[in-house]
């Protein structure tokens, strides 16, 4: 049995993972409207601890990506070649993810739409092309 890498779910990050389980992608915003991912206890811009969570609309664009032709963890062996991509949400925060299309169709700045998918016990925020 190959163990899938597990995120370190803490009191701070649990709301993010719980929301994903409901199909929603959240980011954090402070009282001064700075926004970011991943979850943390203080705003990295103004150090405020008056934070709220905001549900992302799901639209994003592709900033950059790499394609793994070799696996560094057995859990990904059957997915080769797979992409890992950096995307920016329409609301501003950026995150690492996978784009669920053939790698040769990846294009810089391409519009994307959130697709929450199951992976073992987890639900993960991945993206597909947004044709709207």
């Amino acid at each position: 049995m190959i163990e899938f890498p597990q995120p370190d779910i803490t009191d701070t990050s649990r709301p993010f993972w719980d929301a994903l389980n409901q199909g929603d992608l959240l980011f954090q915003e402070c009282e001064h409207h700075h926004r970011w991912l991943p979850f943390r206890d203080f705003c990295p811009t103004c150090l405020s601890d008056k934070l709220t969570v905001v549900k992302a609309c799901g639209r994003a664009k592709l900033i950059s990506w790499v394609i793994y032709n070799t696996s560094m963890h057995d859990a990904f062996k059957n997915e080769l070649p797979y992409n890992v991509s950096l995307v920016q949400l329409e609301e501003g925060p950026k995150m690492m993810t996978n784009i669920l299309i053939p790698n040769e169709e990846l294009r810089a700045e391409m519009p994307l739409q959130l697709r929450v998918v199951e992976r073992g016990d987890l639900k993960l925020a991945k993206f597909v092309p947004d044709f709207n």
Partner: protein, 383 residues
């Protein structure tokens, strides 16, 4: 004269030492560090008892608790200050800067700065490690982070594989001529283009070597070196640092770093501008890192590397010879001290590929996935 510019030339690299580079099975990092420090002391022609500070860059592949003190014990030293410092490849120059500050404030007089690691014959797992919670997306390894930057450089500036090849070919040509280099094989464009891509868009020859080895420097004031009769002290004319720090997904831009700030400080301290520099040693863990350093320093217009460097501009017979002993792509994958040591050799006039009439040498160090950066400018020995 301000606080920065009055440091120009006040401190020297008094001695250099290193082990063989490549595969050194059976050697611990303590053993490699000790050999390098011993040879640096011999080079400086000073006794071990004069050393009162030991600044160690922590071994990348196996971080250890109290490593600096273990090394001091192995070398029979009771330094007034020292320890190990974790900052990736920019740590070498950070430690030189720390040594200068400590001497300046009277905390010590003679410092050893050293690094050793054995990932080639030991474990290289650190380079394939999961990158935090994003491992759930298959996000593993040091190289992949540079791949993301490499791709973004191509997107923003239209940088071509041939441009990255041109960078690698310069380092590899010089390494091939260095009898002590780990990889003595020059690189052709065809070989570059046809090599396998483990993590696209990186090609094999975009990536540095994985190497065992140790290296060390002796740092003291110019005045002290003169009093001790150190034979070949090389003055530090400029030193600066900058830290982007942010992980890739929170970084504002993937194609520029605080190398800009680092170089600005080093140039200001030295009084030089990029056009005054005679020879350079640029941290080339990945070709895109070296290329962006040249851009951020103001040598090369952003996104113009291919045109700017064509015709052998960075090669030994070119206008600005770079990585004259082969850099991380060819001499050894060691994270940065070898570049400083080659800079010292150039300034002593004893380099394997000596740049004639070189009066200064600029060196870059950087660490993480371009998280940390440092810049140093050396002047000629006994000038």
């Amino acid at each position: 004269m301000n606080e920065l510019t009055k440091m120009r030339g006040k401190y020297v690299i008094a001695g250099i030492g290193h082990t063989d580079y490549g595969k050194l099975p059976g050697r611990s990092t303590i053993s490699l560090n000790t050999e390098a420090c011993k040879s640096a002391l011999i080079d400086a022609q000073i006794e071990k008892s004069l050393v009162d500070a030991l600044f160690v860059k922590v071994p990348t592949s196996a971080k250890e608790f109290m490593y600096g003190q273990k090394l001091a014990e192995a070398m029979g030293m009771r330094p007034k200050l020292g320890g190990s410092w974790d900052q990736g490849g920019a740590a070498n120059m950070a430690l030189i800067s720390n040594a200068m500050s400590a001497i300046e404030t009277g905390q010590c007089e003679v410092a050893l700065v050293c690094y050793a690691d054995n990932p080639r014959s030991g474990s290289r797992q650190v380079y394939a490690r999961p990158r935090g919670d994003d491992a759930v997306y298959g996000w593993f390894s040091t190289a992949a982070g540079y791949g993301l930057i490499h791709r973004r450089h191509m997107i923003e500036f239209g940088t071509k594989p041939e441009d990255f090849a041109q960078f690698a070919m310069a380092s590899r040509r010089h390494g091939a001529l260095n009898p002590k280099a780990q990889l003595k094989v020059p690189l052709s464009l065809e070989q570059y283009m046809n090599a396998p891509m483990q993590i696209e868009p990186l090609r094999r020859d975009d990536c540095c070597l994985v190497s065992d080895g140790g290296a060390a420097l002796v740092i003291m004031s110019e005045k002290r070196a003169r009093a001790l009769g150190v034979p070949n002290p090389v003055p530090i004319l400029g030193l600066g640092q900058g830290q982007t720090s942010a992980e890739l997904h929170v970084r504002e831009s993937l194609t520029s770093t605080e190398a800009v700030v680092s170089a600005k400080t080093a140039f200001q301290m030295s009084g030089f501008q990029p056009k005054d520099i005679d020879v350079i040693q640029i941290y080339d863990c990945f070709t895109v890192a070296g290329m962006m350093t040249l851009e951020d320093y103001g040598f090369c217009p952003k996104g113009q590397f291919g045109v700017w460097s064509k015709g052998g501009y960075l090669e030994i017979d070119g206008a600005l010879p770079m990585n004259t002993s082969g850099g991380l792509l060819s001499e050894t994958g060691m994270p940065g001290l070898q570049l400083i040591i080659e800079g010292v050799r150039q300034m002593r006039g004893v380099a394997n590929l000596q740049v004639s009439k070189a009066r200064n040498c600029l060196i870059s160090n950087q660490g993480g996935t371009m998280h940390t950066h440092a810049t140093m400018i050396l002047g000629r020995c006994n000038d």
